[in-house]
Each structure stands twice: as C-alpha cells, then as structure tokens.
Symmetry: C2
Subunit: 295 residues, 2 copies
C-alpha cells in the first residue's frame, strides 16, 4: 500500500486485512464443534470498527514493523475485544440484545454457547499472539494477559458492575475506564510497536502517553454518543447509560465539559504522536478520527 | 524433599506448594476490585485434588526440571481448570450449586462476578505461564491456549452441551472427553516436562501416551463415581449424569466394563511411564492413584 494513501482508505484496507487474518486463523465454521466455531466467527467477524487492530498497525508503522507480523497482534486484540463484548452482553451482565447492528451472540446462539464462544475467543487471542514471530513472545503473552485480567479489562468490568449499586465519582470512573477499555488499547499500541525494532525509552514513553490519552478519549466519546446517538448509528442500544443510571463523563461533567475533555485528550495524543516523528502519522490521524467519530 | 518420600506425602507437599504459588501470584484479596479478587481466590484456592498440578510436577521430574520453574506451569493449569469449573457451574451451563464441598462461585458471589472471575482466571493462567523462565515461552503459551480453546477444553464443553439434545455414542463420548478434560491434562504433562531438558522423540511419545491414557482414565473414574459416590465424598453434586440423562461410560458400557476400561487405561499409562525410566516413578504412582481414587 502506498504510504501516502488517504486515512479512510488506509483504515478500510487495514480493517479488511485483519478481518481476513482472523478468518484464516480461526477454525472453519464447519469444523466440529461446529456450533461453537459458528458462534466464535459470528462474534468476531463481519463488523466492528477495528479500532484496536488499527492502533496496532499504526503503532507498528512507528517501529517500522512488518505488517505480516502485526497481523497476529491485530487479530489477537480484536478477538479479545470480541470475547469481552459477548460476555458483557450476557443476561447476567448488561443483558443487551443488539451488538454491531446484529442480534447479540447469546440471542443468536443461546446463553451457554455464547459463554463458551467468549471463553474460546479469549484462548484464541493468546493462540494467535503466540503464533507471531516476535522476539519476546512470552513477554508479549504476559502483557496481553495482564491487560485482559483483573488488573485490566476484567477488573474494569468488575468496577463497572459494582457501580450499579453506588455511582462512581470522576476519579473512580476514570480508573474504571483505564482498566475496562484503556488496558487493551494500551496493549494494542505496545504490542504493535513491539513487532518492529524496539523504540528507545523516550519513544516508549510517548507511545504510552498516546495510548493512555486515546483510550480515555475513546471512552468519553462513547459516553457522549450514548446520549446523542441512535441505535441505528451506533449498532448497539443507545441511551443505555441513562436507563442504568450509570455515572458517565456526561452525567459527571455535562456535555460541554465532556466535549472539552475529548479535545484536550486529542491534543495530548497528537502531541505524543508528534514526538514520535513522521512515521507516527497514522497515530495522529487516528487521534483525530477517534475524537470525531459518530459511531 | 527426599526423592524416596511416600507418594501420599509427595502429593500433599506438592498440592500445598501449588496452593502457595497461586496465593503468592494472584493479586491480594484486598486489592481493588476486591470483590473480583476475592471471587478468583475463592474459586481457585482452598480445595481441589490438584491433579493437573501434580501431573506437571511429576512430568517435570522426568525431565529433571527445577520445581521452581514447574511452579508456574502448575499454577497456570490449576487456574485454567478452576476457571472452567466456575463457568461450567453457572446457571446457563450445568447450574450446579456445590463445588469442592463449598457453594459454587456464582452462589457465593453472584452470576456476573463469577463470570468475570472465570474470565480473569483464564487471563491469569496465561500471565502465570508467561512469567515462567521457559526456553520457548511463546510456544508454551500457544500450547496452553490450544488446550484451552475450541480445539480443547471449550470445544469439549460445547460437545457436552450439544449432548443435552442428542445422546453421544462411545466414539463421540471419547472425543468429548479427550477435549473437555484430556486436552488440559495433556498440556499439564507436556508443559511440566518442557520445564526441564528436552526429552527425545521416544520420550515425547511416551509422555503423550501416558497423558492420553491418564486423562481418559480420570474421566471414566468420574463417571463411575457419579453413580457410586455421594455429594459428601465428591464435594460436588452426585448422580448428576443420570438426572441430566447424559451418556457416560457407565450408561454406554455398564459398570463392569467401565471398571475394566479403567484397568486397561491404567496399565497403558503405567507402561508408558515405565518406558520413561526411573524418574517417571511419580507418573506411575499417579496412574495407580487416579485409577483407584474415590473422590
């Protein structure tokens, strides 16, 4: 792909690319147990913005990584994300029937099969990553596991769950998001960069600052969209936060201040990307895109 | 520990050892999100036969491995096993209220928290393994992920689930068990041995034969115990298979032939262990123990 190709073209090419990688790596739908493989494919293929995969590819460019190596990281983080959505939508969690514009996995396949599909997608994420020709493969697996576990994504879910009973204040909300969505976004950036030559300590700092800002911005935008969006534009149920009386950036800050927060985080992410030099161009563009997204 | 120590002493020392390792590696119960960490600890500590950990230690001895390295493998496979039990006991799966003589995790912590505790224990299993100073850490993670996923444990669960509607015949039952419990048992043996010097191709074959036989024997014994045992002796609900009208080795073969099958698998496992030489003594003893266990 030509390096000067426009950002939307780059995005859709990379999104298609990771879709193909996942399709190729996952067991075929006809392989026994077929229903499980169908459910896994249903949950992870054919939809989604692929933000985590795009971030991995964009970070890989900073480190001059071979995209064929980043493929494994991109597939891995998308499968981990898809598993979390499947479990999050289950009746005992958010009980949501709509996801990526389609019936949620448990609606289409039943609760038990959705539970197993999520479980198997988590395993598969580690399998895909382990197959990557990384120099420090075990360290990468450990990093992904930490991002997924109780000190990462699952921990954020647990804080979110506890928040049904007691509304969170702003520092608690921020911590919840830093775990629930931020940890995996940071891992996607970190692992994408690890696919190339190692960047120096300053570079690593800048990458981490970028990923932290962009992860949080993503979530604030989510909160704004939950208020302003429709199910049709979002592909998932809108207005959920208000119904569930959850604390969000909008309920805690108001819409105007939430939008200001997005702008500040976007500027922070752009500054961090700028410090990484010209190869971080896609990261800069992603910061703009994430801040401005409407779905 | 003296190499000639009696088998029951060896077992309880190793079981205590892996318990301590897991206790040390897991986040403390007081660390936020505390409820999640409590649930994870509840699910994996303070109970269980630790068969998978013992097999990892026993296989490690064959390869002259440092037990301090095997510790990570042992903790990892036990956490993976514990996660599968938590999810298996959920209302949408087996809906079982009793596990290891205590209320099941979802009874003690609620369904949503049990779901997350299982999810986080799976992540943690990969984290614990990644922290092991193995020569080929990424390969080990891939091996564990395959054993856990749709071509392993989760796949076996999916076949089991489908069997609610259509009873399995003997080859299908065997395939289900080879995935559902066998895959993780084989991984425990394989990874335990990988902690030491690599054994030759003949040694690897013998290890695999051993693990396959012992994994299946374990399951046939389980089926026999489900008929003959009590909830008190088993620490879980007895007679479940009959209530659920599941195919088991007992329903398909009858009790006598099921017991003969156990004896044959035990002999097969002992023969494979014998081929590995004197350092496989614990593997031999484990074959006897698994075949004769009453809980």
């Amino acid at each position: 792909m030509h390096p000067d190709v426009a950002f939307p073209v780059w995005c859709s090419e990379r999104a298609r690319r990771v879709e193909n990688v996942i399709d190729r790596l996952l067991p075929p739908a006809a392989e026994s147990p077929a229903r499980l493989h169908e459910a896994m494919r249903y949950a992870v293929l054919g939809g989604g913005k692929r933000v985590r995969a795009l971030l991995a590819y964009a970070a890989g460019e900073v480190a001059n990584a071979d995209p064929a190596v980043v493929d494994h990281v991109a597939a891995s983080v998308e499968c981990l994300h898809a598993y979390s959505l499947v479990h999050d939508d289950l009746p005992c969690m958010d009980d949501d029937a709509l996801r990526r514009g389609k019936p949620a996995c448990h609606v289409a396949f039943g609760e038990a099969m959705a539970l197993l599909a999520g479980d198997a997608l988590q395993s598969f994420a580690f399998e895909a990553l382990a197959a990557a020709p990384l120099i420090e493969g075990a360290r990468a697996a450990g990093l992904l596991a930490e991002a997924a576990g109780s000190r990462g994504m699952a921990g954020g879910q647990a804080i979110d769950l506890a928040a049904f009973d007691a509304a969170l204040d702003l520092p608690e909300l921020e911590r919840m998001h830093r775990l629930k969505t931020g940890a995996l976004i940071r891992a996607a950036v970190r692992l994408g960069a690890d696919c190339g030559r190692l960047v120096d300590a300053d570079g690593n700092d800048a990458l981490l600052r970028y990923a932290s800002a962009i992860g949080l911005a993503f979530q604030v935008v989510d909160d704004v969209l939950d208020v302003e969006g429709t199910a049709q534009s979002l592909g998932k149920t809108a207005g959920k936060d208000a119904v569930q009386r959850k604390s969000t950036y909008v309920t805690l800050l108001g819409l105007t201040a939430a939008r200001e927060r997005i702008a500040a985080l976007r500027a922070e992410a752009r500054a961090a990307a700028a410090a990484l030099g010209s190869r971080a161009r896609r990261l800069e563009e992603m910061a703009d895109w994430i801040a401005a997204r409407t779905h």
